[in-house]
Symmetry: C2
Subunit: 638 residues, 2 copies
């Protein structure tokens, strides 16, 4: 396996930001085919060696004992169930522990900045030091342990699930690098997410678990079975990340597959439910939460969530979010391409591996410093509190505020400016720095930043509508005030849907917020945003696949039904050039001369019957001619 990784490493160029493959898919496939036989033998040998290693000394007894127990308990019970439950359990624990680590880092940073000192400069140093250190640690750790763990992981999973084998992406080293690197990255408080990496982590966990089980079971590893497991793993990744089992399953279907085998439907659900349940139960047991609740629980009224007239506004939000999502993907790609093109900056930054991460982390945390610009963008809140605030069920622009409400709003206003300035500042900061930070070579996702941008946009719209219609928009008997928090959820879902080109994000939002009251607005906005974004740009994952030049097999069929109006006759060559039996040398020469670009000529019996006898390559034909009427032949005859 390690041999495989090193081999591959030559083709994988770790550039400043994203790595990229230097070879195109075609070349890659050819070489791969040549190597295949050699590798297979080597791998088998390595595998045997690995097994021998495991079975050396006392480990041998342990393994056989485990194998015996497995065989006589779980294997009989139906190993699938047990395997999937185990996967869900592992992911829930991983997610919980990582969340704990991240929140510890975040708390530490707030503590450093708020309680340690009162001098502004010292506060600034405290505010900046931790993120920079964490990012540098993460970048260094990831570089040493497994550079494949850089970035989101969803583009790679898409590639793997379409049948291209990128085995170095699913090793134990990558798992360790991704888990620790991601914890450090998110602990730094930069506007980055954990969804993509979590999908990757779950896939690695599934692969490793699968190997462990099969090595005890003695059944040969089957490729289809592996794909089934990976698809389930993608689902549990999302599920244990947000506590959203259904959304996770749908997201994994949408993002990773082309044809989904419905017989595997229950797999994803089962493991996702296991993951989400344990993830939420752990919160109850260890964090003394009341009970199993949603991740970003909202409390909108169910009696009158929105007026039908508001659907127009929601649809317009869908349009704007669609354009915004496409703009985000576009600006992300432009930034990466700009940085790659800019040779001076590149040569400067490439002097040291830690230069770029350090500068970006320094910049991002400087801008978000709460005593400086950070006050205009709720810079002192962590991601969870930001989203919880944006989704909160009270109108930010109303006159009277309760204590809890003003406690939330304290972060979103300053003495001189109102909430709109802070919301716009927050959007701009998150937009720009989520793009810049996502190019740092550390594990990170883009889902949550985009989600936050959308939530802030929705909150802006909601508050504006509230200001325009303080008593609600209805003309009827009752006038219920509008709910800006609902607009925030719609905006978040639409924006995230537009960037990822997924509809399932709406389900994730329902599960995250624990409310489904806004189902119609969210679905409408997400569908509109999706359609517009899909017209303008590829999804962020596809864009990264293009940037990284991953060996990705493109879609054969477009999703529009317009394709059914295209027939073979629309693009077939009508006047086929051909040669025929008993054609004269003169005719042959003219055919060859007139069609220099054709590489192969079909051979027919004669131009009337047009019965195909075979085909001949241009080169072969010329060789034959050369042999028969070429210079040497003529000389011979002479």
């Amino acid at each position: 396996m390690s041999n495989r990784r090193i081999n591959f490493h030559h083709e994988y160029q770790t550039t400043l930001m994203y790595g990229r493959y230097t070879k195109e898919l075609g070349e890659f496939a050819k070489e791969e085919a040549l190597k295949l036989e050699k590798q297979r033998r080597k791998e088998e040998r390595l595998r045997n060696e690995e097994l021998h290693k495991y079975r050396g000394k006392c480990a041998s007894k342990l393994a056989s004992a485990f194998g015996f127990i497995w065989k006589h308990t779980f294997a009989k019970l139906g190993e699938d169930w047990v395997f999937l439950a185990l996967l869900g359990l592992i992911m829930a624990f991983l997610s919980f522990i990582m969340d704990h680590g991240i929140s510890m880092c975040n708390k530490g940073r707030i503590w450093l900045y708020r309680d340690l000192t009162i001098h502004p400069f010292a506060q600034y140093m405290a505010w900046v030091a931790l993120p920079v250190c964490l990012i540098l640690f993460s970048a260094g750790f990831v570089h040493i342990v497994a550079p494949q763990s850089i970035g989101s992981g969803i583009p790679e999973m898409k590639t793997i699930l379409r049948g291209v084998s990128l085995k170095e992406y699913l090793t134990f080293r990558t798992l360790v690098a991704k888990v620790i690197g991601l914890t450090a990255t998110l602990g730094s408080g930069l506007p980055l997410g954990k969804e993509g990496p979590f999908v990757h982590i779950a896939s690695i966990a599934a692969t490793l678990l699968s190997k462990l089980v099969t090595s005890f079971q003695g059944i040969y590893e089957n490729e289809s079975r592996n794909t089934e497991m990976l698809a389930a793993a993608c689902a549990v990744g999302v599920a244990s990340c947000f506590g959203a089992p259904i959304g996770g399953v749908l997201f994994s279907i949408e993002v990773t597959t082309v044809y989904f085998a419905v017989r595997n439907y229950w797999r994803g659900f089962f493991t996702a439910v296991c993951g989400a349940t344990v993830f939420r139960l752990l919160a109850v047991w260890f964090q003394k939460e009341d009970t199993v609740k949603a991740f970003f629980q909202t409390n909108f009224t169910m009696d009158f969530p929105f007026d039908p007239q508001e659907l127009v506004v929601y649809s317009l939000m869908g349009v704007v979010c669609g354009l915004g999502g496409a703009g985000y993907v576009w600006s992300h790609r432009q930034y990466v391409l700009f940085m790659r093109r800019n040779k001076k900056m590149n040569s400067f930054l490439q002097k040291n591996r830690f230069l770029y991460p350090g500068i970006v982390a320094l910049l991002a945390s400087t801008v978000s410093f709460p005593l400086g610009l950070g006050q205009y963008m709720a810079g002192d809140l962590n991601t969870h509190d930001q989203v919880a605030g944006l989704f909160s069920n009270f109108t930010w622009t109303k006159g009277y505020l309760s204590v809890e409400e003003s406690d939330i709003l304290r972060h979103w206003t300053t003495k001189n400016t109102d909430v709109f300035v802070s919301l716009c500042g927050f959007m701009l900061y998150t937009w720009f720095f989520s793009i810049v930070c996502s190019t740092i070579p550390v594990p990170s996702g883009s889902f949550i930043p985009v989600f936050k941008i959308g939530a802030a946009f929705g909150r802006v719209v909601g508050e504006l509508i509230h200001l325009s219609f303080p008593k609600g928009v209805r003309h009827g008997k009752l006038n219920t005030p509008i709910i800006p928090g609902g607009y925030a959820t719609v905006g978040a879902a639409a924006m995230a849907g537009a960037v990822t080109h997924t509809i399932s994000v709406s389900v994730i939002v329902f599960e995250m917020t624990g409310q489904i009251t806004h189902i119609i607005p969210i679905m409408i906005a997400v569908l509109i945003a999706n359609a517009i974004a899909a017209l303008l740009q590829p999804s962020l994952y596809d864009s990264i696949i293009l940037i990284k030049k991953l060996p990705y097999l493109p879609d054969l069929l477009p999703s529009s039904s317009g394709m059914y109006n295209i027939y073979v006759e629309d693009f077939m060559v009508r006047e086929v050039k051909f040669i025929w039996h008993n054609m004269s040398y003169h005719e042959l020469k003219s055919v060859l001369k007139e069609n220099r670009r054709l590489r192969v000529f079909p051979l027919v019996e004669n131009p009337d019957t047009m019965i195909l006898l075979g085909s001949i390559q241009r080169i072969e034909l010329i060789k034959v001619i050369e042999r028969h009427v070429g210079r040497e032949r003529r000389l011979q005859v002479v």
Copy 2:
């Protein structure tokens, strides 16, 4: 087309209850292949005639005008979107109008029984007359117009979506019969549902709309495109039935397809959202509902929906519902088979087509007569009020009741008995009569009855738990009372999931109730119920497919990963019998004698090299032998 239907009619035997096909799949396929050429020509002719008919007189101008408008507006805009939106719109209107008709019938019955008279016998006659009349009308109407509209329609849609063409199921006549028949059937108040028929109606609407559009568009009808449209139609059927767009899409994926093309994902969502939105908006506009709300809106607390310890009870409920679901499918099949076997009863019932429907309707409405047995089973409530009551957010067994609460409970208690008697009576009545009534030859579904059984079971469990732990089950600081309504939703989802073998029913429940607070319990219970039911019995739809002998292509691959341990060597024939070049007549004769059951023999070069040259049929071989060494040949030689 009509010719096609008549042809088919010969093979389709309209028995007492379900129709069934008298031919097996193999025969059917052979004959089908023979007829294909003939039919194609006829259909083309008929089609042309139809077109001529349309284009006769003034209709011709109208059609071309419509075609022109379509071509220059919607077709440019992307006809898919418009087509799907139109489909959603049509289904929403249909669903709304049908709901209106059904509720009018129900109200009329209550009015007849309650306000017209006070004499018990007259009340009984009033109570019984309307259902019997409606069922008889429905049975007669359906029989005359289109017998194919009998039953659920989901089994047929499964068959059609797997590639078997049952065109008579998708005609305009079937649509009319199904819509009117279903309205009459459900108006009768028998324990039947509308989900299955709605899927069927949506599919017919999609097919007809598709034909209309293609006839104007001039593009040739494409089979793949049709399948795409049908899958979307199934989704909109469920969506416009319950106002559950996401659940509808998932349900259609689970129930109808084997491999789901993800590129069609948006289709289902778009049309389902259109359908659900318009369906709910119509309720706002015409029924003066406050705003867009869920179908069975619940109001459970979001602060503490359930204690983690209650998850054990939910899991046990999943087990019971799994067994119950399998039992339901089993007893349904047993009843149908029993009725088919019982020749005396059959010969009596077959004297008149209306005998069986009439007797069943009379029996069911007699048992549910509110002054008789009906008081023990909430017989005077319609389906919507029954479910709303079962899902209501208050404890039925608590001491003090508010006015609204006692108004709900009035139907579920009598002077002498408590709620448990009524709930059990309700369950038994629904179980038995939903099975019996589903065999009446009228359009009807089984989803809602099963859903109601589950809801009642959940309510029983919830009330029992409440009686055992009046102050809630938690040991911690706070003791929040448990919510029996939550148990009812869990039971409903688990039972419906077990009978239909779907997981998406959980999503449908979220969307129906407008709450997602119980996501974890519902998902766990549904998964467990599904697993158990799948072990014991096929799904209700598959069971009906078996009963009806529909030409259904079975699944190739089981869903368990155990299949990956089965190799070709496990079942391949190892000692292949063969004949070889230059074998002697004696050897040939012995091979032929020893293997009388083999129909084909492989021919190899010689037994050492075993190079396959071809194969020969036994009959051909014997013929050849006959010709060379047979009697005539010998006579010739002599």
